[in-house]
Amino acid sequence: MPATLLQKVWDAHAVRRLPNGQTQLFIGLHLIHEVTTPQAFDMLRARGGRVAFPDRTVATVDHIVPTRDQRRPFADVMAEDMMSALERNCREHGIRLFDLSSGHQGIVHVIGPELGLTQPGMTIACGDSHTSTHGAFGAIAFGIGTSQVRDVLASQCLAIDPLKVRRITVRGRLQPGVYAKDVILEIIRRLGVKGGVGHAYEYGGDTVDRMSMDERMTLCNMSIEGGARVGYVNPDATTFAYLRGRQFAPQGEAFEAACAWWSSMASDRGAPYDDEVVLDAAEIRPTVTWGINPGQSTSIDGSVPSPADVPAADRDSVAEALDFMGFAAGQPLKGTRIDVAFVGSCTNARLSDLREAARVIRGRHVAAHVKALVVPGSQTVRAAAEREGLDRVFADAGFEWRGAGCSMCLAMNPDRLEGRQICASSSNRNFKGRQGSPTGRTLLMSPAMVAAAAIAGELVDVREFVGAELAYGR
C-alpha cells in the first residue's frame, strides 16, 4: 500500500500504542538549547533519572548569546547563568555541546542541518517551535515544551497523537526577487495561522523540487506559523548532495546505503493525503506582513486591508492589528518608513540568504535614519560568508556584522527594538512585543526585501529597486 513519508517514519519509530491511544514514538535526534532545558534537567534530577541516550542528544546555545561582545562571563548575569547551567548539564550527562568556542555554535535549527545531524527518515525533537525546519530533509521534527524535553531526556520518546497530512503542491517558476520566504508567507496567508492544526504539511511540486536545501528549510521553518505540527519535503538528490561529506552524515559506503534507505522513506506515488492545496508559483510576489501574526500579509504592491473588507470572523483581529501597528486601512505598504533592518533568524540567516541580501546592497548605503544589522545563523555561516567577503559588503553598506545567534528575532539578548520602532525583519514572528519592545513593530519579509528597505529607508519592491541584479526565476 502506498504510504506517506510521515506514515513510514511513524511506523519505523513507534514503540507502542499507549493506553490513552497516543503513540510512544522513539526520537532519533534530540536537539537542546539553553532556554527550554534547565528546568527539564532539574525535573529529571528530582526523580533520580538519567539521560537515556546521551549520544542522541546534541546541545548548542543561541537565544541568549550576545552577538556583539561574546566574551565570558556575559555582561548579563542571567544570560551567564543560563549558559553555565547548560554547560553543567551537558557535562554531567555526557552530552555534546557546540559552545561559543567550538566554531560550530549557532541557532539550533541552522547547525543541526549544517553538521549533517539532521537526516531524512529521522524523528527529531527540540524544545523550540521552529524545529519544523528540519523537515526540509524529510525528517519528522517536533517542537516541544519543557516537560516533554524531560520526557525525551529520560526515555528518548514522546507520547504523541497521530497527524493528518496535507499535501501542499507549488507549481511553476518563481519570478526573480521572489523567494521561499514569499512562498511560505503566501501559504500561511491563504490557509490561515490555524489552518494547519492537527496536520503535517508535506510540501512538493516542481517549484519545491527545484529549491535548494536552504530554501526548503525556510519553507518548513514557518510551518508552525501556519498552525501545522510539522512540515516536510520528501528527500531527493538535492538532499543527498547537501548531506554528502558533512561531519555527522554517514561516510563512504554507509552513505550509499543511507541514500537507498532515505529514498525508500519518501512518500510513494499515490500515497493517501487528507487533503491537497495547489499554488501557482508564478502568481506569488514579494510579500510583507502588515499585522501582528504571520498570516496578516499582502504583496508589496498591496495595501493594508480595512476591517470592513475581511470576513466577519477576522474583523476584530484586523482592527486590533491596525490599532497596534498604527496603520490606516487602505494605506499602501510601499513607502512605509522603517527604523531598523534585521537580516537573521533560523528562517533566513543561512549563507544563501546573506548572499541575496548582499546582492541587493552591494555598492549602496543604508539610509541615514536606519539601524541595520546582519546576524549569521551560525559560526559556520559567518566564516563561510567572510571567506566570500560578504562581511565587507555589509560593513561598507553600513550594516553591523555580528556574531551568530537568535539576536533580534526575540527579546532574550541585548539586540532589541526600542519604543515604537518599525523593523523590516527576515525572521518569522511579528507578534506584539516579539522583538523586545512591547510596542515595537515587525514587518516580515525576505532577506532581499529587508536589504532593499534598509537602503531605501522605507519599504520598496526589491524587483524595482535592483531589477537585473536579482537571482533569476527558479
Binding site: V15, Q148, I224, G227, P438
Partner: protein, 202 residues
Amino acid sequence: MAGSRIRERSGTAVPLRGDNIDTDRIIPARYLKAITFEGLEAHLFEDDRQQANARARDSHPLSNPAYAGAAILLVDANFGCGSSREHAPQAIQRRGIRAIVGQSFSEIFFGNAVALGLPCVTVPEATADALMQIAERNPRALFALDLEALRLTVDGQSFEVALSPAARQSFLEGSWDATGLLLDRFDEVRRVAERLPYIAGF
C-alpha cells in the same frame, strides 16, 4: 511517576477575548531568561496588561480585581500559538488557573498544558461567547467543569465541552505526566533504536 487524577475543576472564571493570543503575549520572552519557572505568574500578560492599563485602569481582565482568584480561564480561538515555551502554561497555572476553556488551542500549547495537568477543553464559538458573557456579567459566577461527563455547568445551564480522548483519559487516570509511562517498557525502546538503520550505522 504519574500525576494525580483530575476529574473536575471548578471556580470563578476570567474571560479573555481575542483570537490568536500567542505565547509571547502570555509571557514575554525577557522572562524566559531564568533557570527555573518560579515567579513567572507575576509577569503573566505583562505587556498586554500595561497597554490596557494605559487606556483605562484595570481594563485587562487579568488586572481586574473582580476576577481575582479565578480558577477557569475563558479564551477564544488558537490560544497559545507561536513559541513552544512551557513558561506560558506554567505562568497561567502558577497564577491559580486550573482549567482553560476556549474555541481552539495551538497544539504545542495544548500538549504542554496536558503535561502540567492543566486541562484545555474546547467549545463552539457561540458557547465560548455565551460563557464569556456570563463571566462578564457576573465575575462571581461559579463554573464547574466535569472531565468525566465532558460538561461545563454555570448559572444552572450546562454546556457540552470537547477534549481529545487521549488527554481526557490521561487526566482521569492521572497519567498526564508521561515520563513514567514512557519508561515502562524500556526494553522495547531499545529494540526500536537498534533496528533503526541510522543508529545501526547503515
